[in-house]
């Protein structure tokens, strides 16, 4: 009833874990649809896909953090329903998340055996036994660091090693690593791969999620490509080539309905030259003109967001200049940036964009409150009028200006963030993942809004992982990789495939 595995030599006793017809939907989104995944003893199975392709959802289901809606999971020949993280662990499935989940103040042994410390008497931890066992596992992994120091003082690669040791101590049959190398140096990656090889030699099946094509070819045995929640292909690494993989990942429909008006490019509003921040950004330069959308694409950790943070005065760059309307400007704080007409819709609206406990009116007026006040006293009528105006103009669905933003939907919260910046009459607006976590209808409205703003002479910098969004809306696209601008594409040249190839360095 399912398509046969692409690789016909799968002999059954090899199979450690099998997922069949997995389906998962969230309100308004199909995250996974009819996905199969077969893991064999001792293989490194690479999971490849753009952001939003469904990789994380698949991992969450394996980890027992999310329940699937449909499908079957077979572990060691038996069908199972993974009931929760603890159950997943008991089944021999260990997950190493992208953000490591260690207790920084505990040493390696304390972390490895957290919650299941060897006891001497009830309630008394047998520290010596715990340390000895931790050391044995770490030695097997070839760890060279001191296992007795708090893990918070270890380097990221070493912390990762602790996570792996933890997985091993659980006798994991399946190890899932979510972008384990994104924070590692070249040498640390080598060490990690050596560890992975020693694991697979002992029969552990490893699921490796990564965007880096180079390392996929180095470490992987097979690769499964996901796109928009579907499995589009499973290949042996030897049978796949880079081009083909990029095509498989990127071949998404560009939404025909993306609004894009023809707007004449106006004067230069913002120019960034030679922007550098040690270890994060290198020689980044670009310009934004009135009436254009500049897209910034790139993988997670490529420096996309960091560009916006530096321009907005949140991080202090060590090199470079920022020119506003041709004049060099010092921007040392968000306050300075706002004064220069620059706004920033951050990626995480709940953490950085909104004061959730306050009202829609409070939030919209926040950056302009000072202008609405005389001698420090806010002119209430003007403030209410301002809020009402933007609620209407952006069609924010709310019971009124006095509703708390906490109770709005994601899409409407995002509109409040946009309203906040439009109210402060910025000329250049940085949008970081402006449609993340909002439903399809609200997305369309945000797109239309962006188009309208550009028509009105704003310059927009659109940072997004959603390639169709960037391709559809941007007049020019910068692709970031490793903190540098790796390529710049005009609207005509910017195809999803090219952008992705540039972002992964293929």
């Amino acid at each position: 009833m399912h398509p046969p595995p692409t690789d016909p030599i799968a002999s059954h006793d090899d199979v450690v874990l099998r997922m069949e017809g997995i389906r998962k939907t969230y309100p308004g989104v199909v995250a996974l649809s009819d996905v199969d995944l077969v893991l064999r003893r001792g293989e490194v199975h690479v999971l490849l896909g753009e952001n939003g392709a469904g990789k994380s959802t698949l991992v969450r289901i394996l980890a027992g953090a999310t329940a699937k809606d449909a499908g079957r999971i077979v572990v060691g020949g038996e069908a199972v329903e993974i009931a929760g993280p603890r159950h997943a662990r008991e089944l021999g499935i260990a997950i190493i998340h992208q953000e490591l989940r260690l207790v920084p103040a505990l040493d390696a042994a304390g972390n490895i055996f957290l919650g299941r410390e060897p006891r001497r008497f009830p309630g008394i931890v047998d520290r010596r036994a715990m340390r000895a066992r931790a050391r044995a596992i770490l030695d097997r992994l070839g760890a060279t660091f001191d296992p007795d120091v708090p893990v918070g003082s270890l380097r990221v690669a070493e912390q990762q090693m602790v996570e792996i040791a933890k997985a091993l101590s659980l006798d994991a049959r399946v190890l899932v690593m979510d972008e384990p190398t994104s924070a590692l140096t070249e040498r640390e990656t080598r060490t990690l791969f050596a560890v992975v090889r020693s694991l697979t030699a002992r029969g552990v099946a490893v699921v490796h999620i990564s965007h880096r094509l180079d390392e996929i070819f180095e470490i992987g045995d097979r690769v499964t490509v996901l796109r928009d929640g579907r499995r589009v292909a499973t290949h042996r690494i030897g049978d796949a080539d880079r081009r083909e993989l990029v095509r498989l990942m990127a071949d998404r429909e560009v939404d025909e309905r993306l609004p894009k008006s023809v707007v004449a490019r106006g004067e230069e509003l913002l120019r960034v030259e030679g922007l550098g921040r040690r270890g994060v950004l290198h020689d980044v330069g670009f310009a934004v003109h009135a009436g254009e959308v500049v897209g910034i694409a790139g993988l997670l950790g490529s420096g996309r967001t960091e560009v916006a943070r530096a321009v907005f005065g949140l991080d202090r760059p060590h090199a470079g200049r920022i020119l506003v309307r041709g004049r060099p400007r010092r921007i040392r704080s968000p306050r300075d940036a706002i004064r220069e007409g620059i706004g920033f819709v951050t990626e995480d609206r709940k953490r950085e964009g909104l004061v959730l406990g306050l009202t829609v009116r409070d939030n919209i007026a926040l950056p302009v409150l000072r202008l609405l006040a005389r001698f420090g006293v806010v002119r209430g009528a003007e403030e209410r009028a301002l809020a009402a105006r933007f609620i209407r103009a952006l069609r924010i669905r709310t019971t009124g200006a006095e509703q708390r933003v906490l109770d709005l939907s994601g899409g409407n919260q995002q509109k409040v963030v946009l309203a906040k910046w439009l109210a402060s009459r910025v000329d250049v607006l940085f949008l970081d993942e402006p449609t993340r976590g909002i439903d399809v209808g609200a997305k369309q409205e945000i797109y239309q809004l962006i188009d309208r703003l550009v028509e009105e002479g704003l310059g927009v910098v659109l940072i997004s992982s959603e390639l169709p969004e960037v391709v559809g809306l941007a007049d020019r696209v910068l692709v970031m990789r490793g903190g540098r601008v790796a390529g710049e594409f005009g609207r005509a040249e910017a195809t999803q495939e090219r952008l992705l190839a540039c972002a992964v360095g293929a």
């Binding site: 704080s333 004061v355 306050l358 409070d362 809020a387 105006r389």
Partner: protein, 334 residues
């Protein structure tokens, strides 16, 4: 987008102010009323004009301190040093009076000492990035120690009647401290709800990161807020000195806890971002009424401490339970 806005009826947009005086404060007010009814029934002495005025007067000194504390707590902080600042400001006032004989100069000195101590707190928190608990814990000890050092541990007494009228005088039968308290609460309410400073305080307490990203100078606001707390503690100090006719280095012990309790009973969250001075006023009155009632009923002061502690915990517990019930569960919108 500008013109899309000129919609009819905008000027008549409903005044929003009411929402800060909604359910929560009414609930606290209901609690106060219930408490008064019980005491009215239990003892004939409670509901006399003179006793009620006495109760309000009793609440004035801690109440004014609590008004300042409200700013700090809404802004996401805490100020443990208010009791000590009160003592230090009183000693500052007393010593200056001994030296100059001028009430005006001395009052200025006392208020100045309070303001300066508060600003130091604010600077430690905002610029030094110390946790407010630590910064003000330090100030609590330093200010108390300075008060004892400067006064040699002895009270400074003897002030003119004109100054003592601050505590003993009245206007149309209303004691002066009550008038002072009400005036200060009215002003504090106005500042918190109508000025940029107050609104920024709510924003910073609610989400400091978002406030910073909105271009608010978080450091200045925080420093100001602690300054206000210090200034109001010093204001209380003057009232207390007037009442006792004596500035005492050990004055204001544990006031910080009473003030925090009043703010929290009044509905503020210790996490910051919510609360109101009106709530705090009711909170301070509840504490005063409770103390007064227990005194009238002849309950020993030992038992009183237990009762007051229990009231604080129960009030906040009830509030949290009610809040959990009325707020719709937060949808996973992300």
């Amino acid at each position: 987008m500008e013109d899309a806005s000129r919609a009819p009826g905008l000027a008549r947009a409903r005044r929003p102010r009411a929402h800060r005086l909604h359910g929560r404060e009414l609930g606290t007010l209901g609690g106060l009323a219930a408490l008064c009814l019980v005491l009215w029934a239990a003892t004939p002495h409670f509901a006399t004009v003179s006793n009620l005025l006495n109760v309000v007067e009793q609440s004035a000194i801690v109440g004014i301190v609590a008004a300042g504390m409200t700013f700090v707590i809404i802004g996401g902080g805490i100020d443990l040093s208010v009791g000590s600042i009160l003592a230090l400001a009183g000693i500052g006032f007393g010593l200056t009076f001994q030296a100059t004989g001028s009430i005006a100069v001395s009052a200025g000195a006392g208020l100045g000492v309070g303001l300066a101590s508060g600003v130091v707190n604010g600077a430690l928190v905002a610029l030094g990035r110390l946790p407010p608990f630590i910064a003000t814990l330090g100030m609590m000890s330093v200010a108390r120690g300075l008060a004892l050092m400067l006064s040699d541990g002895r009270p400074i007494s003897g002030y003119p009647d004109s100054f003592r009228a601050l505590a003993t005088g009245d206007l149309a039968g209303i004691p002066a401290p009550v008038i002072a308290m009400l005036a200060i609460f009215a002003l504090a309410h106005f500042v918190l709800t109508r000025t940029t400073l107050g609104r920024y305080t709510y924003a910073i307490g609610g989400n400091e990161e978002a406030a910073l990203l909105s271009g608010i100078d978080v450091r200045v606001v925080k420093t100001t807020v602690y300054g206000i707390s210090g200034l109001l503690a010093a204001t209380s100090a003057l009232l207390l000195v007037a009442r006792l006719d004596s500035a005492q280095p050990i004055a204001g012990m544990m006031y910080e806890l009473d003030a925090i309790a009043a703010v929290v009973i009044g509905g503020a969250s210790l996490l910051g971002g919510s609360g109101s001075v009106l709530g705090t006023l009711v909170g301070a009155l509840i504490m005063a009424v409770l103390r007064n009632g227990l005194n009238l009923l002849g309950v020993s002061s030992y038992v009183q401490q237990v009762a007051i502690g229990a009231v604080i915990v129960v009030a906040v517990l009830v509030d949290m339970v009610l809040r959990r019930r009325t707020r719709p569960p937060m949808g996973d919108t992300a």
